[in-house]
């Protein structure tokens, strides 16, 4: 287990749901209209009592055991040795959409122009150039952070399965969250 596993830290207490991360991704990759690799999901009122005031920014979770990789019939997915980033090689993809159906986190998306799947690559080319993923750099509140190695990440006060994020231990998604707080309220 000396291999590293990169991941995302989503600090829902800092997150303001500004969608900068999601748009930073579009700015970097110019996805087809309607396709986004990262999205900011509001936590529903049963989790945070005020509508659209707490958020969860999600892209691909670069799981330790990725379903997409497992189900892809043409081996269009591979997991990088050096950092565990799950990469989709679009030129191999035959557009069967099995990954899209099978990923419980909805990470792979269908590109209607190319008739192929695509998903967050954790900006591995940027990582290789010594840069942060575009979404992480684009977060104005440092709520979205890059975890270089899950193993050495300080887990105190953090959870892997925030309420609102489905639990799939067998996949072991490479994300950690800090839950949002609520203020004391004085309302008329």
């Amino acid at each position: 287990m000396s291999k590293k596993q990169a991941g995302f830290y989503i600090d829902a207490q800092r997150c303001i749901g500004c969608y900068s991360c999601a748009m930073a991704c579009k700015n970097q990759y110019h996805q087809e209209p309607g396709v986004h690799w990262r999205y900011v999901y509001p936590l529903k009122e049963e989790i945070y009592p005020h509508r659209e005031r707490a958020w969860m920014s999600l892209a691909c979770n670069h799981c330790e055991h990725p379903t997409c990789l497992e189900v892809c019939p043409v081996e269009a997915y591979y997991k990088r040795e050096k950092d565990g980033v799950v990469v989709h090689e679009q030129e191999k993809c035959i557009g069967c959409q099995n990954c899209i159906r099978s990923c419980p986190y909805g990470a792979p998306r269908f590109n209607p122009a190319r008739h192929q799947a695509e998903k967050c690559s954790m900006c591995y080319q940027r990582l290789d150039a010594g840069l942060k993923p575009a979404c992480v750099q684009g977060c104005p509140t440092y709520a979205l952070q890059f975890i270089e190695d899950m193993a050495s990440f300080d887990q105190s006060g953090k959870v892997q399965y925030l309420a609102g994020f489905p639990r799939f231990p067998e996949l072991n998604p490479s994300v950690r969250f800090r839950p949002p707080r609520e203020p004391r309220e004085v309302r008329r």
């Binding site: 936590l43 191999k92 035959i94 959409q97 159906r101």
Partner: protein
């Protein structure tokens, strides 16, 4: 997430019908002599053609059909690769059985039974493709159960075309049993989903809340069972009705079962 891909409906329903036909052919005692043999050959050819149509339909599901041969490369973990292999084998033994049948050479009955067995195995594999973790309602044996029911309902119903009216007894029994099981499964399953997690609950509500679901219960199960009970035989129009019912069921299977990602941000 909505999959309105009709090609998958056609592929899976027809492929299961083909398997069903071979299974029934293997089970069905034939009238001795020429007529029984001809009917078996016609049935077998029909099963082959239906399978071919199913495989053709599956190509329309692909964004890049020309890459489909490469879909066999990931047998190590991909149930979809295995499904393609399984249906390939099914088609292979089907053709082999046909050749022996045609030449009237020995061993054809063995090959027919082998084809049916490979077909059933292909259904099991196929069921695994449709049981990913993203669909909590299906991440279990349900797809396999559904696919077997389709094979037995359609196989026994369509099989009736290929045997004499006087020899339908077994097919009627298989069909009636399959329909009773299918009715019970389809009535109860949404309740089981409703007692599960949020996403399974959403699926259960989708089913009970759908007019298509109730139409199918009535049209594919209640009415045919009444017909079978009354007439004790399979009228020529019944297989078509059942096929429509199965297609409706498959549309719901592909469209109304809720994906976990639809509820991101909600309680699971």
């Amino acid at each position: 997430m909505v999959f309105t891909d009709f090609s998958l409906v056609v592929f899976s329903t027809l492929a299961q019908l083909a398997v069903g036909l071979t299974v029934m052919a293997a089970l069905q005692p034939r009238a001795a002599g020429e007529s029984g043999e001809v009917k078996l050959k016609v049935e077998w050819v029909t099963a082959g053609l239906i399978l071919a149509a199913a495989l053709m339909a599956s190509m329309f599901h692909l964004g890049h059909p020309s890459g489909s041969p490469r879909a066999l490369v990931h047998l190590s973990t991909s149930w979809l690769s295995r499904e393609i292999l399984a249906f390939g084998c099914f088609g292979g033994v089907l053709v082999l059985a046909f050749l022996t049948l045609w030449k009237n050479s020995g061993g054809s009955s063995l090959l027919i039974r082998l084809t049916a067995a490979v077909g059933l195995a292909a259904l099991l594999v196929s069921g695994m493709v449709y049981a990913p973790p993203s669909f909590p309602a299906l991440n279990n044996g349900v797809p396999v159960l559904f696919f077997l029911l389709t094979a037995f309902i359609l196989g026994s119903a369509f099989g009736a075309y290929f045997v004499g009216a006087e020899r339908q007894g077994l097919l009627v029994k298989v069909l009636a049993t399959s329909l009773v099981v299918g009715l019970v499964v389809n009535l109860i399953l949404p309740s089981i989903w409703l007692s599960g997690g949020t996403v399974a609950r959403m699926t259960g509500a989708n089913f009970y809340g759908s007019w298509l679901y109730w139409l199918r219960i009535a049209g594919e199960f209640v009415v045919p069972l009444a017909v079978l009970g009354a007439w004790k035989k399979i009228p020529a129009w019944l297989p078509i009705l059942l096929l429509l019912g199965e297609a409706a069921g498959r549309i719901m299977f592909l469209n109304s079962v809720v994906h976990t990602a639809t509820n991101l941000g909600g309680l699971y």
